[in-house]
């Protein structure tokens, strides 16, 4: 039976202004941002690639030059889907190819689960799904349904 758990935490969107996003990110946060389609963790801080010059970072980030820093802690909802069945649960609503060959340990991509827009990241033994807070109940109920928990 797959395991579903809400991930509580603080989320900060970091968007770089044109052409200098990566440099501004590195200078301000002290580490390089992840490459397109990936996430990484540096000194306990997880950063996810969102789109060109945009990242979602765990924890608080102060305003910085060349960056739009936005606290989205209350605007996002995250859930961890783990267990042997995690991939098949996601396959009921997410069209992404989440096979380890196609979606490796550092993969992070935008997709949907049924009608809810999500950002998927591979975790050790599962996946992290992030969606808009206002639709969190839809994602949560759909996942529970797919996992046979409701």
């Amino acid at each position: 039976m797959p395991d579903l758990a809400v991930i509580d935490g603080r989320w900060t969107s970091v968007r770089g202004f044109r052409g200098r996003g990566r440099d501004a990110f590195a200078a301000h946060l002290g580490f390089a941002p992840p490459q397109a389609g990936t996430w990484h963790e540096v000194e306990g801080r997880v950063a996810r690639w969102i789109e060109p010059d945009a990242w979602l970072v765990d924890g608080a980030v102060a305003e910085g030059p060349g960056l739009l820093v936005t606290d989205l802690s209350a605007g996002l909802f995250a859930v961890r889907v783990s267990g042997a069945e995690a991939r098949s649960v996601l396959a009921t609503g997410c069209p992404l190819d989440l096979h380890p060959r196609a979606f490796g340990a550092d993969a992070c991509a935008a997709s949907v689960f049924n009608e809810v827009q999500i950002r998927v990241r591979r975790l050790n033994g599962g996946f992290e799904l992030v969606c808009d807070r206002a639709l969190s109940h839809v994602l949560w109920n759909d996942l529970r349904e797919a996992a046979g928990l409701s």
């Binding site: 202004f17 209350a74 196609a102 049924n114 639709l135």
Partner: protein, 926 residues
């Protein structure tokens, strides 16, 4: 087992130790585990299994697969009943109940057939000739009842239907010998392989002949290979997306699973369907495809008859006849349409089979099943021979199954030797193997034979060779027209057994080669699919998810009636016990005008627009001037589309020199966010601007009414909120209980009003705090309906309600705004047009002592409509009805009395300014 009169003593892939009981048309029978409904009926000697659609002719099982046109059944009862299944595909289970769909009271005795009720009514082209408007509804009802397209269950289907996405390197469609070989090969190096087959057992045409257990074991042991049985590939779409429906009926869990498979390459091992022969009486029960008779003998241990006659145009049927003899099915004669008999003729003669070369079938005889067949030389030089038989095995050659190939964009070519369409050029990454790759069986002889009675081409829709001749005589000579005129190929089987024969018959009539007749293009689904499989789990509460408010629980506690407004579940209002909707609205409106109201405005779209070029960007986006907006101030903004029509409106706040908060209509944040991105990414990539949608990050409440300031002060905010600093259209940042908050002095009600925003997880607490702070002042929560009434009294625009995609800014009184702006902005050219002569509909206020309905027309002196009411309602503040309307020249007709026309009723109303209440705006500072 007693009763199974046609079960062979041995053979077949059935479990004779596991008898299963079932009923057909109310009669009880017994079959074995491993049977299909069709094989079990044949084992029991049941010959009539259905009635044809048009003529209600008795029909028997013709095939052993999903190409079956005759044995169409309704299975199950109550909520689980399923119509229009092919008996050849229905796996037998204990207690199965089935009925023929197209017969009443049953297939064996059908009233419509006895009375001949339908035949005269349903001539070829009956769609066009008989069922003319206005009586189509009558005819379609009659057809559905008597013609029998099956019955949908009346109760909701309790079964579970699932969906699944999958990706693979190679998708093999078809689990026969060729498909299995392809799957074994493709997955040898660990590639991700999916094999899809429609049968419960792998092996295809070779089931019962070759043992595939070892191959299945090899595939099953591979972690990256998945085998889907009882799964039909329905469609092949762009970028190698293939849809598959997997039938799981009888297993615990879901009834069906709908797969969407994205494949690197597709291997079509879909085999071939045998063609019937077109001869008089070829639809009599007991006439079946030769390959089907063989499949029933080898796969199910069923003798479809005891004295078989084979009619064929190819060599392969000789082997089929030998296989039947080996399995214990008697074969008495073989008629070959070709002048010369095949090489196996002597082998058949040696076993007592009469072989007649150059002979065709000219008639069949028998009541509810064939009892004899008349064979005659095709050159006319000889006598008819009548041969007693109870089974006619026909074979007109084989059609490779090119349906999916055609759907994928591939083109086919005509193979004259086998008289079939075969794959020619591919448009997507795939290949064909086995019988799907090429036609292998050369055929000869005529396409159709004349004789006694109709010769059927499309069995389910009752289209005969004669009907094709009639259509050709009426000049329906294109195969596309022929199809639509005769309904050929339009039945459940979509022409799987009839299309090529129809082309052949037409080519024979028109004396034109087959490739010049052409073929219709194939489209999904390959085989009918249940609505349940398409819907999956998107039912009930999961059908469409609404966005929910952070303070939803508080609204429920407060007695809110929640409704869908623009994709958000929001309070329409907060009715008191037993309070009617209109009473509620008036109470809530009055509370805002006289005291203070509290409104949840969280769905208002909020987009942060930041960057060195943010001001320049918004100057181009909005029709009005935003460059002059001072930091700390708010301004109403109007967005137009490229055509100059009103797109959206909202309040823009300048947070800092290079940072704005763009407000959109509720539910419009996603749409407008994409609009901004499109302009940034596609049109103005030179602008250094980023956009962040923060709508869900913030919960917003609105305090509105003359006492709003009192409540704001009572909230104990750590923020500057005095009237000097926080004047109308100003905002300030502060803290509430240590958390950040924004307070904006904006008003959609016309009263003094504060929008307070906090992080969404504090939204519920803020709502409670406002109620508490306002308790002594009699604060009243109000919903969307009261807000709409309040803004209507003020004449404030509701984009999408008071505007449509043809509304220009000057139609709503904003013409000057755009003309005054010197810089370019989206839609500017249209605002510079001279529209005065257009007699355009312009927004105008309307008042009346009588109710005004939204959608009522404003009539001119000539009685013609000059426009319509866009918003309307009773104004509790003014004591009369107020409305907004888009009316020709409305803006210059203030004071005029007009006639309203609403669903047959006329009334009088006065046109006037948009704003009906407090036009000076004094209430904003009251």
């Amino acid at each position: 087992m007693s009763g199974q009169s046609h079960r062979l003593p041995s053979g077949g892939r059935i479990d004779r130790g596991r008898p299963l009981r079932f009923t057909f048309d109310g009669r009880a029978y017994t079959g074995f585990d491993g049977d299909t409904l069709a094989s079990a009926l044949l084992a029991n000697g049941v010959r009539v299994v259905g009635r044809s659609f048009r003529l209600h002719r008795a029909r028997g099982v013709m095939s052993a697969g999903l190409e079956e046109p005759n044995a169409i059944v309704q299975v199950g009862r109550g909520a689980l009943t399923e119509p229009n299944l092919k008996a050849t595909e229905v796996l037998l289970y204990d207690g199965l109940e089935a009925r023929a769909v197209n017969a009443w009271p049953n297939a064996a005795f059908d009233l419509a057939a006895v009375t001949g009720l339908f035949a005269p009514l349903l001539s070829p082209g009956f769609y066009y000739k008989t069922f003319l408007w206005p009586r189509w509804g009558f005819y379609s009802g009659l057809i559905r009842r008597m013609g029998g397209l099956g019955l949908a269950p009346r109760e909701p289907d309790p079964s579970r239907y699932e969906k699944a996405f999958e990706t693979c390197d190679v998708l093999v469609i078809g689990g026969g010998a060729a498909g299995l070989a392809a799957a074994v090969e493709a997955g040898a190096d660990g590639a991700r392989v999916i094999l899809v087959d429609d049968k419960p057992e792998l092996g295809g045409a070779a089931i019962g002949e070759t043992d595939f257990a070892e191959v299945e074991q090899v595939l099953g042991a591979r972690p990256e290979t998945r085998v889907l049985k009882r799964a039909v590939a329905l469609g092949w779409y762009d970028h190698n997306l293939i849809t598959v429906v997997e039938d799981l009926t009888g297993n615990p869990g879901p009834r069906q699973r709908f797969w969407k498979i994205r494949a690197g390459r597709v291997v079509l091992a879909t085999g071939a369907y045998e063609r019937p022969l077109v001869f008089p009486g070829n639809d009599r029960p007991g006439v079946m495809l030769a390959g089907a008779a063989r499949a029933y003998a080898l796969r199910f241990g069923v003798a479809a008859g005891r004295r078989a006659v084979v009619v064929t145009n190819n060599d392969q049927s000789y082997q089929t006849a030998l296989d039947l003899l080996d399995a214990g099915v008697g074969v008495v004669a073989l008629a070959d349409l070709r002048p010369e008999a095949g090489p196996l003729a002597e082998a058949l003669r040696a076993r007592g089979v009469q072989v007649l070369a150059g002979h065709g079938a000219v008639a069949t005889h028998g009541g509810r099943g064939v009892k004899a067949i008349d064979l005659a030389p095709l050159d006319g030089a000889g006598q008819r021979v009548r041969i007693a038989c109870d089974l006619v095995c026909m074979s007109g050659g084989w059609n490779p199954v090119v349906h999916l190939f055609s759907q994928s964009g591939g083109s086919v070519t005509w193979d004259p030797a086998s008289r079939a369409f075969v794959p020619l050029t591919w448009r997507q990454a795939g290949e064909a193997t086995g019988d799907a790759a090429a036609a292998k069986v050369p055929v000869g002889g005529p396409w159709s034979m004349a004789g006694d009675g109709p010769a059927f081409v499309d069995f389910q829709n009752d289209v005969t060779a004669g009907d094709i001749r009639s259509a050709a005589q009426e000049h329906y000579v294109s195969v596309e027209h022929l199809k639509r005129y005769t309904t050929l190929g339009m039945a459940l089987d979509q022409g799987k057994t009839s299309n090529v024969n129809a082309i052949g018959v037409l080519s024979q009539i028109l004396q034109k080669p087959e490739p010049r007749i052409g073929t219709t293009r194939f489209r999904p689904p390959f085989s009918p699919v249940t609505v349940g499989a398409l819907a999956g789990r998107r039912l009930g509460d999961l059908f469409h998810g609404l966005r929910r408010l952070p303070a939803e629980a508080e609204h429920r506690t407060g007695g809110a009636r929640l409704e869908d407004y623009g994709g958000w579940l929001r309070p329409a209002g907060y009715p008191l016990a037993g309070e009617a909707e209109e009473t509620m609205i008036r109470r809530e409106v009055s509370a805002v005008r006289k005291g203070v109201g509290l409104y949840d405005a969280s769905p208002l779209g909020k987009l942060v627009v930041a960057g060195p070029d943010a001001a320049e960007f918004l100057q181009r986006i909005y029709a009005n001037n935003l460059k002059t907006l001072a930091v700390g101030r708010c301004r109403y903004g109007l967005m137009l589309d490229e055509h100059g029509a009103v797109l959206d409106d909202g309040v823009v706040m300048r947070l800092a020199a290079n940072r704005f908060l763009v407000g959109t209509t509720s539910g419009g944040a996603g749409r407008i966010g994409l609009w901004l991105e499109e302009w940034l990414q596609c049109e103005w990539p030179d602008l250094d601007v980023v956009v962040e949608n923060v709508t869900s990050q913030w919960a917003t409440v609105n305090l509105a009414g003359p006492q709003a300031g009192t409540i704001l002060r009572a909230l104990g905010l750590d923020a500057v909120i005095n009237d000097q600093a926080l004047s109308h259209m100003a905002f300030s940042d502060g803290l509430i209980d240590g958390a950040p908050c924004h307070i904006a002095r904006v008003s959609f009600t016309g009263e003094r009003s504060y929008e307070i925003s906090v992080p969404a997880d504090r939204g519920a607490a803020l709502w409670r705090a406002c109620l508490e702070a306002g308790a002594a002042s009699g604060i009243v929560p109000f919903g969307v309906e009261a807000l709409m009434r309040l803004r209507l009294e003020k004449g404030f625009l509701h984009v999408g309600v008071d505007t449509d995609p043809t509304t220009y800014p000057e139609d709503i009184g904003y013409g000057r705004v755009g003309r005054a702006k010197v810089e370019d902005f989206i839609g500017r050219r249209s605002t510079l047009r001279e529209n005065a002569a257009d007699r355009r509909r312009r927004l105008v206020g309307v008042q009346s002592d009588r109710a005004i309905g939204v959608g009522a027309h404003v009539l001119g002196a000539d009685g013609m409509s000059q426009g319509w009411i866009t918003s309307a309602g009773f104004s509790p503040t003014l004591g009369r009805y107020v409305a907004l309307a888009l009316v020709e020249e409305g803006a210059s007709r203030h004071g005029e009395t007009v006639t309203l026309f609403d669903r047959g009723a006329r009334s009088e109303a006065r046109l006037g300014p948009l704003c009906a209440y407090d036009p000076e705006g004094a209430r904003l500072n009251a």
